[in-house]
């Protein structure tokens, strides 16, 4: 299954989204500057300001 993931180029700062296939083995490079310094940003649901780890909500 493929999911849309967020990436950031650590060289030029460009942020973009790309479909990622499960278990894919792909060399990444920035669509803008071709740098390989591509940081995989953890997907965060909108409005969530946690670090991506689930938090228990008090009832």
């Amino acid at each position: 299954m493929a999911t849309m993931e967020n990436f950031k180029c650590m060289m030029c700062g460009y942020e973009y989204q790309e479909l990622v296939e499960e278990g894919e083995d792909k060399e990444r490079s920035c669509p803008k500057c071709r740098s390989n310094s591509i940081r995989h940003l953890k997907n965060r649901p909108s409005g969530d300001n946690t670090d991506g780890k689930s938090k228990k909500v008090k009832q």
């Binding site: 650590m10 060289m11 083995d25 792909k26 060399e27 740098s35 390989n36 310094s37 940081r39």
Partner: protein
């Protein structure tokens, strides 16, 4: 193959010999069993164009020439259900209770020659393969024109069993098509079609063949001659792949619509039959074999060789060799050449009787090992044996010396010969002892990035002189600790560089580099250090230009790092007390 253990010269392989349910030593292939078998199934060998029984000989030339009972199709031995074949067999060869057999073999080398699968054109709906009876694949064509085929060589079309007079061939079905994830050329289809047109011209001179293609690749010995002969025999070659095929419901004839890219015109051609020249795909067992033998794949899904030019039949795992299609699409001649080369390579290895072990290997300190097992899964060669609760052990004959395990070990229990942690820490400190703020610190892998630097040098390319390179065998040797130490010593910028994915000298070790750099970016950010100060680049040995460009970018980046940022990182990334032992060793090396 069910299981593989061991290493070069000492593999143990477990093979499952599937139950045949027929004793080959007494079966005389009289066919009495098949005559009475009531089950009819599509015959796989004839591409489903005819049927076989549940008990059958897979194909006429099969060795041994003996029947085989397919238990998935068989109605069983229950006399109420069937059991007819056993009754009919005078030789008493049929044994319904036969079982799979597991065979163990000790071998010194393994040759992987698992072949190919053929592309299934069902997904390319525009060609109507599943909608129109008279659209067939090149494999089905092969059976229809073969004397041993379902029609005994009488060439007829499926819809009405009439002999077709106008035949269209469509090339590159499932090849050179990135849209369906198959960008590679299948290598054999052009020549196969040319051969088919010559065969038709020879058997049925009144047949008109038309071939729709994007390029004809006829580059082997005598291939161009065959292509010319096909044209002289009257075959029309039309440059352009069809966009659509329509069927006349009454005549069942097919109209093909294509842009002729030579004339720029949209053309309609009517045919009695259309043959899809299907490409090849990696065999479905490839993933399983790849897991058992720790082999890796190239982006097109075939096995990756150790080196595309210098070691084209060796797998990156020592003692394993490739022959044929599983490594890349190739024709019969190339497959035979590769098979000869693979058996020679294996023969040379076995005859030598001993293997030379890599000088740079990992050694595990049994006292320091905390038995966590973090090292074993990162080894691309499966050279580390570890069981829960036990000290990990390196099989030196299998270790290629990437140093990935050393970077993964959190307890300093792994020493990589000639490239120890202590040596690296000493280098980092010595390089950054003076004016670290003016330096770009670079870890460069031996095989690609470091050589890329050499290439930039011998090509007389200019780039800023601020960089300081430390050579590692693989970029995966660079531990998180080594990068952090560089920042602690005041490095404004650290670059980790290695081979491109397809070039990794250690199968796929550099995937661990990516994971480590990702973790480091998170760590730096958490410590309030600008993560951009750590960069990652893949630079091949031929990319001197890229090396020079990257060094320029690093220098620009360095200029943006302030004194305050450097000082903050030195403080914020201070080591934890546990590292004291390594500290001592490094101090000793530095003297």
């Amino acid at each position: 193959m069910e299981e593989v253990s061991g290493y070069i010269g000492n593999f143990t392989i477990t093979i499952r010999k599937k139950a045949r349910y027929v004793d080959t030593s007494v079966c005389n292939a009289c066919a009495e069993c098949a005559n009475v078998c009531p089950v009819l199934k599509p015959d796989e060998y004839q591409m489903g164009l005819s049927t076989r029984k549940a008990i059958y000989i897979p194909f006429p030339q099969a060795v041994p020439c003996s029947y085989i009972l397919n238990m998935d199709d068989c109605l069983g031995n229950n006399p109420i259900a069937c059991g007819k074949c056993a009754e009919a067999c005078e030789q008493d060869a049929i044994n319904y209770d036969d079982e799979d057999e597991l065979i163990k073999r000790e071998v010194g080398a393994v040759i992987v020659a698992i072949g190919l699968d053929v592309y299934d054109p069902t997904e390319m709906d525009e060609y109507g393969y599943t909608r129109y009876d008279n659209v067939i694949t090149s494999m089905e064509f092969e059976r229809l024109i073969c004397a041993g085929g379902p029609t005994e060589g009488h060439f007829v079309r499926p819809s009405d069993h009439e002999r077709p007079k106008r035949i269209g061939f469509i090339q590159c079905v499932g090849s050179r098509n990135p849209e369906i994830g198959r960008p590679y050329c299948s290598n054999i289809c052009c020549m196969n079609t040319i051969k088919d047109t010559l065969l038709l011209a020879d058997h049925y001179p009144d047949v008109q063949c038309s071939v729709f293609y994007q390029d004809i690749r006829a580059f082997g010995k005598s291939f161009e001659d065959m292509f010319q002969r096909s044209k002289e025999a009257g075959t029309r070659y039309i440059r352009g792949l069809p966009g659509d095929i329509e069927e006349d419901p009454e005549t069942r004839n097919l109209t093909l619509i294509a842009e002729n890219t030579t004339t720029g015109q949209i053309e309609r051609h009517e045919f009695d039959m259309i043959v899809l020249s299907v490409g090849v795909v990696p065999p479905k067992d490839l993933a399983k074999i790849s897991g058992l033998l720790t082999l890796s794949k190239t982006s097109d899904g075939f096995f990756m060789e150790s080196h595309p030019k210098l070691k084209p039949v060796d797998a990156p795992t020592r003692g394993i060799f490739f022959a044929g299609f599983c490594e890349a699409p190739k024709d019969i001649k190339d497959s035979v050449c590769q098979a000869g080369a693979a058996s020679s390579r294996a023969g040379a290895l076995l005859n030598k009787g001993q293997v030379q072990v890599e000088a740079i290997t990992s050694v595990i300190d049994a006292d320091a090992c905390r038995k966590c097992g973090a090292c074993a899964p990162v080894c691309p060669y499966s050279a580390i044996k570890w069981k829960k609760g036990e000290v990990a052990v390196v099989i030196e004959a299998a270790c290629a010396g990437c140093g990935n395990c050393g970077a993964a070990c959190n307890f300093d229990a792994i020493t990589m010969r000639h490239f120890t942690d202590a040596q690296y820490l000493a280098q980092i400190r010595a390089i950054l002892a003076e004016d670290p703020q003016d330096k770009v610190f670079v870890f460069a892998c031996n095989w690609c990035s470091y050589s890329g630097g050499d290439m930039a040098g011998i090509s007389r390319m200019t780039y800023p002189a601020s960089n300081r390179l430390v050579r590692t065998m693989c970029s995966a040797r660079v531990s998180e600790e080594m990068v952090l130490e560089a920042f602690r010593c005041g490095a404004p910028v650290v670059l980790v560089s290695g081979c491109h994915y397809a070039d990794c000298h250690y199968i796929n070790a550099n995937r661990q580099t990516v994971k480590r750099v990702q973790r480091l970016w998170n760590k730096l950010e958490k410590a309030g250090v600008r993560p951009e100060r750590l960069q990652l680049e893949w630079i091949s040995a031929a990319e001197g230009q890229k090396f020079a460009k990257v060094m320029g970018q690093m220098e620009e980046l360095r200029k943006t790092v302030t004194k305050e940022e450097i000082e903050h990182a030195m403080e914020a990334l201070k080591p934890k007390p546990r590292k004291a032992k390594k500290e001592k060793e490094a101090a000793a090396v530095t003297g």
